[in-house]
């Protein structure tokens, strides 16, 4: 009987092991398929950027030739990266970088400060203010864009870097994100620092900010992507090459009668690189922030 009992788990163990392996295979296949779906357009983009005949690119679309280049060339990149080329794409890339860096750095400072005050400040009507911030978040950007254009034009900011940075530095989403993060930090931290005589700004700068790397990373990435991909706003407020970002410049390739796929693809690849670097640099904190939010939520 005891033999019988002891021998029972053995046959059960084999199918369990098999199902585990089977599950892993299914998981791997699924992950591979998803990765393929995600990566293939990017791969196609990269391949097309190495072809110098726009008509060939168009003819190859829809077939496996879109994923193959027999005589790769960097001519599209050379043309785009050239500051003094047909159009100043190097300049547009530089403009986008300036706008990105200034927006993200100033955005981190302003939004985190606002979030800190809402979480720990002794402000009257804090709850109402917070509700207003959340309410502002639901207003779509497109609905306020025209009045904003008029405001900026009256302020004389048209065709400047400032007009592409100022309206987007403070964001209800990021204020709320920082507020949520700061509010979850232990009360004792704030109180201990306060007892040691630290000012509110000192507590914010020396204690809360160093503890907020995941939130800072998340906001940096989200804000960076948002700023980098801005299209409609800079289209409306820029007039010349002076402050025009790369996203608007790429649209030049999509003309009335023709599309310059070769250069559009190369410019798109170049446009992806800074965001990719930003993501890779902050990826660890970004993921941990999301995981943390999920667990807390």
């Amino acid at each position: 009987m005891s033999d019988l009992v002891l021998s029972q788990p053995a046959p059960l163990a084999i199918p369990r092991g098999n199902s585990k392996t089977g599950l892993r295979i299914v998981q791997t296949v699924c992950i591979f398929m998803i990765a393929l779906v995600m990566i293939s357009p990017l791969f196609m983009l990269l391949i097309a950027s190495l072809k110098d005949d726009r008509f060939r690119i168009l003819a190859d679309m829809g077939s496996f030739r879109a994923f193959w280049v027999s005589d790769p060339t960097l001519s599209n990149y050379r043309e785009i990266a050239n500051f003094s080329g047909e159009l100043a794409y190097g300049r547009y890339l530089f403009n986008s970088l300036v706008i990105l860096v200034v927006t993200v750095v100033s955005g981190l400072i302003i939004n985190s400060m606002a979030g800190f005050v809402l979480a720990w400040g002794s402000l009257r009507g804090k709850a109402i203010l917070l509700a207003l911030v959340v309410a502002l978040y639901v207003i779509p950007q497109e609905s306020i864009i025209m009045p904003l254009v008029v405001m900026m034009s009256r302020a004389g900011l048209t065709d400047t870097f400032a007009v592409q940075i100022l309206p987007w530095v403070a964001s209800p989403l990021y204020v709320f994100l920082f507020y949520q993060f700061f509010a979850q930090l232990p009360k004792e931290l704030y109180e201990a620092a306060e007892m040691d005589g630290a000012s509110a700004f000192r507590i914010y700068r020396s204690i809360f900010i160093p503890l907020s790397l995941p939130a800072l990373a998340t906001v940096s990435i989200l804000m960076g992507i948002e700023s980098w991909n801005q299209y409609l706003w800079p289209t409306l407020v820029t007039q010349t090459d002076y402050a025009r970002p790369i996203a608007v410049a790429i649209a030049t390739f999509f003309g009335q009668d023709s599309i310059y796929w070769d250069r559009a693809m190369a410019a798109s690849v170049l446009m992806m690189i800074p965001v990719l670097i930003l993501y890779l640099a902050f990826q660890r904190w970004f993921v941990s922030s999301f995981v943390g939010s999920a667990v807390k939520g």
């Binding site: 008509f55 060939r56 168009l58 003819a59 190859d60 679309m61 829809g62 077939s63 030739r65 047909e86 159009l87 025209m146 254009v149 008029v150 034009s153 009256r154 048209t158 299209y231 409609l232 289209t235 409306l236 407020v237 007039q239 010349t240 025009r244 608007v248 649209a251 030049t252 390739f253 999509f254 003309g255 009335q256 009668d257 023709s258 599309i259 310059y260 250069r263």
Partner: protein
């Protein structure tokens, strides 16, 4: 010493005057703003023209404002709201009536050189004329048309008749007969590409399909009473769109999801293509001698083809209309600009430019396309409600092509158009026009 002092005194007296004189001179320089769209080649061409113009006219500065083609209307609306309309602007011809009615444009005849005005083709005049005062508000070097491109090899395989001029265009019976034959021919996946892939966010459907409807005896709106009900949802339009729906149902038309390259993509799966004149460059690059250019088919009694493209107007608020007109005249005569336009297979809108364009002259591969301008071109409805007309029509066509009921979709579109006209009190004085 006294001479030295005298010199210093003179300098002290004259230097400020000289400075203010110079400042006055700088201020006297006019600045004109020119808003345009276009791909990098055109952007560069316009920029170069501006530089040459400034060299020839040192008293005028030109500031170019670029707006991407797809966001041009948004940019234009922003300029209107911010009261920053440029002096010279490019505009899509069918929107001209709306812009003139809204007070954004001024007549250009007194501002542009007479020899340029005399050089305009009939179709170019039509696309720039406001129907109420019959005055000219815009002008362009170019115009446009749609033709039927054919794969020579496939057409020879079904022994199709190749029309040589607009007068012997295919009839509906011939056209549908060939579509059916092509659908059974080996190697042909779709008998025709009508470029559904351009989608409904562009002007394509109204621009290219509208003429087929007009050829069948209907129109987007009654052009005398300016009422869509009874015309757009009338029998002729319903029949014409049901005919096109049948082509789609039969699997004869390249679907939206297959893009816009099926005529010349690997294996050349589409046998015919109803494409714009600009399509020739990309198709010929891939197909070489295997391409034939034919006029649009006659669906009814008469052949109809589209016209109109991006043309130049001068804003009503321009502070320097004379300088703006001078720039337009300079642009349209500029040799380098014309040379660039030729490399882009630009469709001539000026007679002198047509004479310089071998592609469109007699015996040229696109001669048939140019012949259409004088024989069959019909402008899209020149009415301020055009933005609503085109959007309602395109949505209706999209519904019908996706299997919707033609009568129902066209009735809804007609109602939407009439409602817009009613909401704007008939767009006076268009309501008085009969």
């Amino acid at each position: 010493m006294s001479a030295y002092l005298g010199n210093r005194l003179l300098i002290a007296l004259f230097a400020p005057s000289a400075f203010f004189w110079c400042a006055g001179y700088v201020e006297a320089k006019s600045v004109i703003h020119v808003m345009h769209q276009g791909d990098p080649g055109w952007v560069k061409a316009y920029g170069d023209v501006a530089k040459r113009f400034e060299e020839a006219n040192p008293d005028i500065d030109v500031e170019m404002i670029y707006a991407p083609h797809d966001a041009y209307n948004e940019k234009f609306s922003a300029a209107v709201m911010a009261k920053q309309l440029p002096d010279v602007m490019e505009l899509d011809a069918p929107f001209l009536a709306n812009y003139v009615w809204s007070g954004y444009l001024q007549p250009i005849k007194p501002l542009v050189d007479q020899d340029v005005l005399d050089d305009m083709t009939g179709s170019n005049i039509a696309q720039g004329t406001y129907p109420i005062d019959k005055d000219l508000y815009a002008i362009g070097l170019t115009d446009s048309s749609v033709v039927l491109y054919g794969n020579k090899k496939y057409l020879e395989a079904i022994s199709a008749r190749i029309p040589k001029s607009v007068d012997d265009a295919w009839t509906r019976e011939e056209f549908e007969g060939y579509l059916e034959k092509l659908s059974k021919l080996e190697g042909v996946k779709w008998p025709i590409d009508t470029f559904r892939g351009y989608g409904i966010k562009t002007e394509w459907i109204t621009y290219a399909y509208g003429p087929l409807l007009e050829s069948a005896g209907c129109d987007l709106i009654d052009r005398k009473a300016w009422k869509a009900t009874g015309t757009l949802d009338g029998d002729a339009c319903v029949k014409a769109l049901t005919m096109m729906q049948t082509w789609v149902k039969n699997g004869w038309v390249v679907p939206t999801s297959s893009g816009t390259n099926q005529f010349y993509a690997e294996g050349q799966p589409a046998a015919l293509a109803m494409g714009g004149h600009w399509f020739y460059a990309e198709a010929a690059a891939a197909m070489k001698e295997n391409i034939v250019v034919m006029p649009l088919p006659k669906i009814g009694e008469k052949g109809v083809s589209p016209n109109g493209t991006w043309i130049w107007g001068i804003s009503a608020t321009s502070e320097n209309p004379e300088a703006a007109g001078k720039f337009l005249s300079f642009l349209l005569k500029d040799k380098e600009y014309r040379d660039y336009a030729k490399t882009q297979s630009a469709y001539p809108g000026l007679k002198s430019f047509a004479a310089e364009s071998p592609l469109y002259s007699e015996g040229g591969p696109l001669a048939v396309a140019f012949e259409q301008a004088s024989k069959t071109a019909v402008a899209r409805p020149p009415h301020p409600a055009y933005p609503t007309i085109t959007s309602a029509f395109m949505q209706a066509v999209d519904k019908i092509f996706n299997g919707g009921d033609a009568q129902e979709a066209l009735t809804a579109a007609a109602k939407k158009i009439d409602q817009d006209i009613e909401d704007n009190a008939g767009y006076p004085p268009f309501d008085e026009q009969q």
